[in-house]
């Protein structure tokens, strides 16, 4: 299946019984990297990201039959990935029986545990700074900063007003700057 096919063609292929598999594979291949990085920025570890991403894609397979094109496929996929990631974090929190602030420290520790971690490099300090933020702010910052998502699309995804998202993003950027300068 051609990766450059538009979402409408991929969805049409999925809804055709004979080309269902090909349509699904086309959707996976087109969006897998974006979804992977969206999840990994939140979870840090590749293994956790892989688990959650597979769960997301299984849910996509099961739910795509009922997908209505009143929202974009891209937004719909991101919403599932975001929900699954936040659910995973909640489970991790319950499992570790720690508070929200301590949880941030745990994910900060995961950043430091990465085999390529180098605290002298700015890109690694940036990751530590992002992990020090509350989860919702992390999401907003990542979607805007890395995925360059428009506020309008982010609003659909997170069910939050564009103004609130803009304020959240600015606030996050300021905190990250302070974190890195004081590190």
């Amino acid at each position: 299946m051609d990766l450059h096919l538009d979402d409408t063609s991929l969805l049409a292929a999925f809804h055709n019984h004979t080309t269902k598999e090909k349509g699904f594979n086309g959707i996976v291949k087109k969006y897998q990297e974006k979804l992977y990085w969206h999840i990994r920025r939140m979870l840090v570890s590749h293994e956790d990201t892989n688990d959650v991403l597979q769960m997301v894609l299984v849910k996509v397979w099961n739910g795509l039959e009922n997908f209505r094109a009143d929202s974009k496929l891209y937004t719909w996929l991101y919403r599932i990935a975001t929900n699954e990631t936040l659910t995973f974090i909640e489970k991790e929190k319950k499992r570790a029986i720690v508070s929200l602030d301590q949880d941030s420290e745990i994910f900060g520790d995961k950043v430091k545990a990465d085999t390529h971690f180098d605290e002298n490099q700015l890109i690694w300090r940036l990751q530590l700074a992002i992990k020090s933020l509350p989860e919702k702010q992390q999401l907003v910052f990542n979607l805007r900063y890395y995925d360059e998502m428009p506020y309008q699309q982010m609003s659909e995804l997170l069910d939050t007003s564009e103004g609130a998202l803009k304020a959240s993003y600015h606030h996050a950027a300021k905190k990250i700057e302070e974190f890195i300068k004081s590190y």
Partner: protein, 169 residues
């Protein structure tokens, strides 16, 4: 660096600090991960389908681990070649010994069976006069004519012989 100029400018308005930062992710993804992901997802979908199907039919089975109690036997140790040679040598020794024993037994059998067929007692107890009577005179005369010259007699006179015969009777 951001492709989207709007986002880049937005951050620059917040602080010149952001011009020094690159939006590059430092994390590494395992090699060929994205090539294998679709097949991994397909396998997971099948696994979940099997689970969901069984959940409707017989949910108890989903609680039992899918492990069989069967075990594959541990591979037997290979017999060293030296042991094999020794075994063959032993077998050949046994075969040779058996052949020798066989020859001895058969030899003994044939040897003893020949002896048994020769009836010495019958020979000793036979009445020679009867046997001679069955032979014709002409045969005996012919035999004596041939063998008479072979009979070696000591240097004794006929008179001495008659006297010897008379005295021994």
């Amino acid at each position: 660096m951001h492709q989207n100029k709007t986002i880049h400018e937005e951050l620059e308005t917040l602080s010149p600090f952001w011009t020094t930062i690159q939006s590059q992710m430092p994390y590494v993804v395992p090699a060929h991960y994205f090539e294998t992901l679709p097949s991994m997802v397909r396998a997971k979908i099948e696994t979940e389908a099997v689970y969901d199907e069984l959940e409707l039919i017989a949910p108890l089975l989903n609680t039992i681990p899918k492990q069989t109690g069967y075990q594959i036997p541990v591979a037997q140790e290979k017999v060293p070649p030296v042991t094999t040679t020794v075994k063959m040598f032993t077998w050949s020794k046994i075969a040779v010994a058996a052949a020798l024993i066989g020859i001895m037994v058969l030899g003994n059998y044939f040897y003893t069976s020949e002896k048994q067929t020769f009836d010495y007692s019958a020979y000793i107890g036979a009445d020679h006069t009867q046997i001679i009577e069955t032979i014709s005179d002409s045969t005996l005369t012919a035999y004596l004519d041939v063998h008479e010259k072979l009979i070696v007699t000591p240097d004794v006179s006929d008179q001495e012989l008659l006297e010897y015969i008379q005295s021994s009777n």
